[in-house]
Symmetry: C2
C-alpha cells in the first residue's frame, strides 16, 4: 500500500499537519523539522493522494480538452501547446477526439463531467447542447475555434470571415472567375468561412451558385471527394478554397488523379498552415494564425473562471477573433508564390470585443 501522510508523520515524529505543511511548501515549518519530514517522504517514497487533496480543496487540477481530430497536425500542435501551458500552471490535460461528430462529443463531455474536471476547453463545439451539458454540471468552459450562432460563452477563435474573404480575393486578383468552396459539414464556423468566400465573390460580381460549393468530411478523403465532385461538372472551377489544409491535401490529390496540374489547371488553397503545406512538393497556399497565442488566451481565461469563487463575477465575457495571415505559395498560381520563400499577407489586426 502506498504511504500516507500518517506514515510520514509517525516516521518523522511529527503531526500530520506538519507533514502537510512541508509537502505543500508552506513556510511555517522549522528547517530541522522540514528536513526530517522530507527525509521520511523519500524513505517511504511518499506521493500525496490526489483524490484526498481534491476532495478537500474542491479542485482536481485537471482540465478537459475536446478537439475534433487529433490526427490533424493543427490540433496536434494545439494539444501539445495547451498541455505545456497547463502543465506549467499545475494542471493536467485530459484529451478527447470527437471525429467531428456530436454523439462522441456528448459522451466525452459527460465523461469529463463525471471526472469532475476543473474546466473544459471545447474546440469542437457546434451546437448549444454540448455547452448546456457543461453549464448544467457547473463546469467552467471556454470555446476555442468552433462555436455556434448565439453562443454566449467565452470564445477564442479565428477571424474566419476575413480570412476566407482575403484568400478568395487573392484568387480573384489572380484572374480566377469560377472559384469553388470546399468545406466540411455545416457549422457556424464553416458558414462564416463560406460567407467570406461569398462576400469576395459577389463584390467581384462572380457566380456563387450551389454548384460551386462542395461538402464532405473534414479530412483528406473528404477534400478528395469534394473536389472530385466539383471537377465532374461541365463548367469546372479553376480554383478551390478549402477549409483546412488536410482537405486541401485531398483536393490536390483529386486534381492529380484527374490528370490536372496544380496550379495550372486548378489553384488550391488551405487553412491552418500545417507543416505539410510548406513542403517543397506541396507548396500549398494557406492561412496562418498564432495557435500558441490562441491557446494561451483560452487557457488564461479558463483559469480566471476556475479561480473565481461561485457566485462571484469572473470578469467580463471574452470574445476574441485572431487575424490570419495569407501565406502565398505555389498552389494558388500566384507569381508571388513561385519563389521558395512564401509570401505573407496580413489581415487587419486582432478583433477583441469584451
Amino acid at each position: 500500500m502506498r504511504a500516507t501522510i500518517k506514515d510520514i508523520a509517525r516516521l518523522a515524529g511529527v503531526s500530520t499537519q506538519t507533514v502537510s505543511n512541508v509537502v505543500n511548501d508552506r513556510p511555517v515549518v522549522g528547517e530541522a523539522t522540514r528536513r526530517k519530514v522530507l527525509e521520511a517522504c523519500r524513505a517511504l517514497s511518499y506521493t500525496p493522494n490526489a483524490s484526498a487533496r481534491g476532495l478537500v480543496t474542491g479542485s482536481r487540477k485537471v482540465i478537459g480538452l475536446v478537439v475534433p481530430h487529433i490526427g490533424n497536425p493543427a490540433y496536434g500542435d494545439l494539444i501539445a501547446t495547451l498541455a505545456r501551458i497547463a502543465g506549467a500552471a499545475g494542471y493536467s490535460v485530459v484529451v478527447g477526439d470527437t471525429g467531428w461528430n456530436p454523439e462522441p462529443e456528448r459522451t466525452l463531455l459527460s465523461s469529463l463531467i463525471r471526472q469532475s474536471v476543473d474546466g473544459v476547453i471545447l474546440a469542437s463545439c457546434n451546437d448549444h447542447g454540448s455547452l448546456q451539458m457543461l453549464r448544467d454540471a457547473g463546469v467552467p468552459t471556454v470555446l476555442l475555434y468552433n462555436y455556434f450562432d448565439g453562443c454566449d460563452a467565452d470564445l477564442f477563435r479565428i477571424d474566419n470571415f476575413g480570412a476566407f474573404r482575403m484568400v478568395t480575393r487573392h484568387l480573384i486578383a489572380l484572374g480566377h472567375r469560377r472559384i469553388g468552396f470546399v468545406r466540411g459539414l455545416m457549422s457556424t464556423v464553416v458558414r462564416t468561412r463560406e460567407d467570406g468566400w461569398r462576400s469576395a465573390m459577389t463584390e467581384a460580381g462572380l457566380d456563387v451558385g450551389e454548384d460551386l460549393v462542395s461538402v464532405s468530411t473534414f479530412d483528406q478523403n473528404g477534400g478528395h471527394a469534394a473536389v472530385t465532385a466539383l471537377l465532374a461538372q461541365a463548367e469546372r472551377p479553376t480554383a478551390v478554397v478549402c477549409t483546412s489544409d488536410i482537405m486541401a491535401c485531398g483536393a490536390m490529390d483529386a486534381a492529380a488523379d484527374l490528370g490536372l496540374d496544380v496550379p495550372r489547371d486548378l489553384a488550391v488553397t488551405g487553412f491552418d498552415d500545417i507543416f505539410v503545406a510548406a513542403m517543397r512538393r506541396v507548396r500549398l497556399t494557406s492561412l496562418r494564425y498564432d495557435r500558441a497565442r490562441l491557446a494561451q488566451q483560452a487557457f488564461d481565461r479558463l483559469l480566471q473562471i476556475v479561480g473565481t469563487p461561485p457566485g462571484h463575477f469572473p470578469g467580463p465575457r471574452q470574445s476574441v477573433a485572431l487575424p490570419c495571415e495569407l501565406v502565398v505559395r505555389a498552389s494558388c498560381g500566384s507569381p508571388a508564390g513561385q519563389d521558395t520563400a512564401a509570401t505573407r499577407i496580413r489581415t487587419p489586426k486582432e478583433v477583441a470585443r469584451p
Copy 2:
C-alpha cells in the same frame, strides 16, 4: 455549490447509501425508489464527486499517455485511438508531450504521479530513470514504441530491426550502393533501426561508414538538416533511409533545395506511413504497422496490471514486436512504386515472447 449525495438523499427521502446504489447502477434498488432518486438527481443536476469516489475506491479512472511529439500525425492518431479505447473502458487519458527531451519527460511523469493516475503508457521512454520514477511511485506502466536496453517492463513495439533491414534491402535491390541513414538522437529504438540498416548493408558488402549516418532532431527540420549534411559530402549517397515520415519530408525538401530530384538523384524512405506519405505529390515509400492494434494491446495489458491487487501476480510480462509492411511508392524509385496504387511488402509475422 454542487449537490451531494446527501442532498439527493434528503430530497428523495432515502438514505445516502440508496442514492449511491442507484447512481452506480447496482441492481439492488426497487424500481420506485430508483425512479425517485433519479428524479432528484436530475432536479439538482447531480454529478458524483470523482475525488470522493476515487478516495474510497483507490482509483481515479485516469491513465497517463506520454508521447514525444503530438504534432506528428503518427502520435496524433495513436492518441486518438487510445483515448477512444480507454474511454470505452471508463478511463480518461491525460496526455503529455516531451519533445523527445528527458527533462520534460521527468517533469511530466512526476506530474502524473502527483495526479495519482492509475497507470501510464509511456511512448517516449529512452532510459531507465523515467521507468524507475514510475516504479518507485508504484504506478503501473507499459512501454510503447520506445524502450531502452535491458528494460524489463511490458513492452509493445515495432519490429524495428526487421523493418529497417527490409527497406534497406529493397533499396539495395534497386541498385543503390551508398545508402545513408537519417536518424534522431540516439536511443535503443534508433540504434536497432540503424542495426537493421547496417545488417542489410553489410550482407550486401556495402560501406556503412559513419559518413553515411546523419543525426538530427526527429522532425522535418531535423530531416532537412541531416540530409543537407549528408549531401554536402563529396561522395553523395544515392538513397537515404529516414527513421520517420516527418524526417523524410524534411529530407525530400533538402533534396529539392539542392536542386536534386527524388527519386532520380536521391531515393528517400520514411517510417509510420502517415497520411502525408500517400499524397500524390509526395509518394513517400514508408513502413506501415497496425497502430490501433498496438494501442489496444498496450491498453489491455495496462488494464490487466491496474486490475491486479497489489502483491498478486499480474500475469507474465508481455513483450510484443509488431511487424511492418513496406509500402513502396515513388520516392524510392522502385518500378513498383510508379503506379498510383502503392505496393505492399510484408515482414515475417508478429513476434511475441512472453
